[in-house]
Every structure is written in structure tokens, then in C-alpha cells.
Symmetry: C2
Subunit: 139 residues, 2 copies
């Protein structure tokens, strides 16, 4: 049976000079910022093995998103026809989880400096995963 | 302020012949199965624009995972040194969100037939996103 809901508990928070949603690029590779991932002490052990130069996928909870939106004009272009949110990267969607591919610049205890990141300061982090190499034998 | 928790509400469920975790490959491209994504009627509008041939990222809630695990032996190899879960794709982690890149084979109302998928039958789906093309101008 599927439960009706599961509790996501943030493992940390994004610290960035980017504080205003209006200034945020739509995707990290469209002008993302350097940012710090500040993990909580409770999960710090989970960072073991991460080093500068690694490529990671950061999962965030886009806490400013609207969760009751199912269709949007892609990239906010009002002249474009409405599309289902699951065929877009709109932050407005039932479960507003953001995916951000970043490179690690520096590891400082339970903080990671990464780039590029388009999420604003204060965005909760919910998971971090490595980008998989194309070859299963190298995973 | 970051809240202590957010409620994820599944938008659907995976229907697959794969019913036993012990038979599941570690990643979809290591022998994943065809599967159906069954969305709930409440979010069906969100699928508008998705068609056969599309490449999607399916986000799941790995409901059988252990959430109190912070270090693992990568890929279950006991001879390998322990690593932090955030540098692995272990399903055991504080917020067990699975990422699965799939191709759409068929769209049938609020159901999508996709391949390859390594998640077991009954796994809750929490989000669906398009794979971004490399060129921002084509998004």
C-alpha cells in the first residue's frame, strides 16, 4: 500500500548571495552562482568520500513553490501554450523537488562549496547524490 | 527559516513485474525493467505534453529504505571501505528519493509505459521531470 504522505526532513540549507527569486536564473548552467551547502551536524558522516572536483546532484525542496499548479506556460512565456508541469522544469508542481547538477570546489567540514547553483539562499537541501559515470564498472 | 519537515504526497505508483528487492538491479541501465507509471487522477493534467520517445527523470520515494543509515559499503561490497551515503547511490539515506532516467514507450491516459526502471512494484512516484537538452535555447 502507498501511504498518503511521507515526511522529508532537510539535511541542510543553501547559503548563497542569491537571495531574490526574481534574480534567479531558470537553470544552473544559465548563470548559476557559487554557493555553500551547509549540512546539519546530524548527517555530517554522510559526506565521507566527497572531495573537490566531484560532480554531484543536489536535491532541494523549493519551499517558495506553489504546489497546486498542474499546468504552466513553459519558462514563463505567456505566448507559449500551457503544458503539464511534469513535462517542464517549473518549480511550481505538487512535490517541488529541485535537481541541481554541481561541481564541488571545496570541502570544509560539513560544508561544501559548489558551482553553479540557481537556488536561492535558505533553500532546504534534502539529498545529495553522485552523478553516475556512464560505465557501471566504474561506479 | 527552514522547517523541520515537509510532506511529500505521492502523485502515483510504479507497476512492474519486479516485485522483490533482491532481484532489483542497482541502476536502471544495469538491467532495468519495463514498467508503468500510474498517476493519480488528481494530477493527470500535469502530464499534458508528454509523448512516446520523451526522456524523463522519475523521482520516487524508496519506501523500503532505511533512513538512519549514513555510511555504507558501496554497492554492497563488504570489502570496500565505508563511504558516506551522499557519495553513493545507496537507497538507504535520510531522505530516500530515487532518481530514474527513463524513455517513454507509450502514453495511455494517466499511465506511462517506460523503460528501463529498477524500482519495484508499488514504489510511490513523487515527481516527473524532463531530461534537459544541453542547449538552453531548445528548452
Amino acid at each position: 500500500m502507498t501511504k498518503n504522505s511521507y515526511a522529508i526532513e532537510p539535511i541542510g540549507v543553501i547559503r548563497s548571495e542569491l537571495t531574490d527569486l526574481a534574480d534567479a536564473p531558470l537553470q544552473g548552467d544559465e548563470g548559476g552562482y557559487e554557493a555553500w551547502l551547509e549540512l546539519t551536524p546530524q548527517v555530517a558522516q554522510g559526506l565521507a568520500g566527497i572531495k573537490a572536483g566531484d560532480h554531484l546532484i543536489v536535491l532541494t525542496w523549493l519551499h517558495r513553490a506553489q504546489r497546486d499548479v498542474l499546468q504552466v506556460h513553459p519558462r514563463g512565456r505567456l505566448e507559449a501554450p500551457l503544458r503539464g508541469v511534469f513535462s517542464t522544469r517549473s518549480q511550481d508542481r505538487p512535490n517541488p523537488i529541485g535537481l541541481h547538477q554541481v561541481s564541488v570546489l571545496e570541502v570544509a567540514g560539513q560544508r561544501l562549496r559548489v558551482t553553479p547553483l540557481e537556488a536561492i539562499d535558505g533553500t532546504p537541501i534534502v539529498d545529495i547524490k553522485p552523478v553516475l559515470s556512464a560505465k557501471p564498472s566504474e561506479r
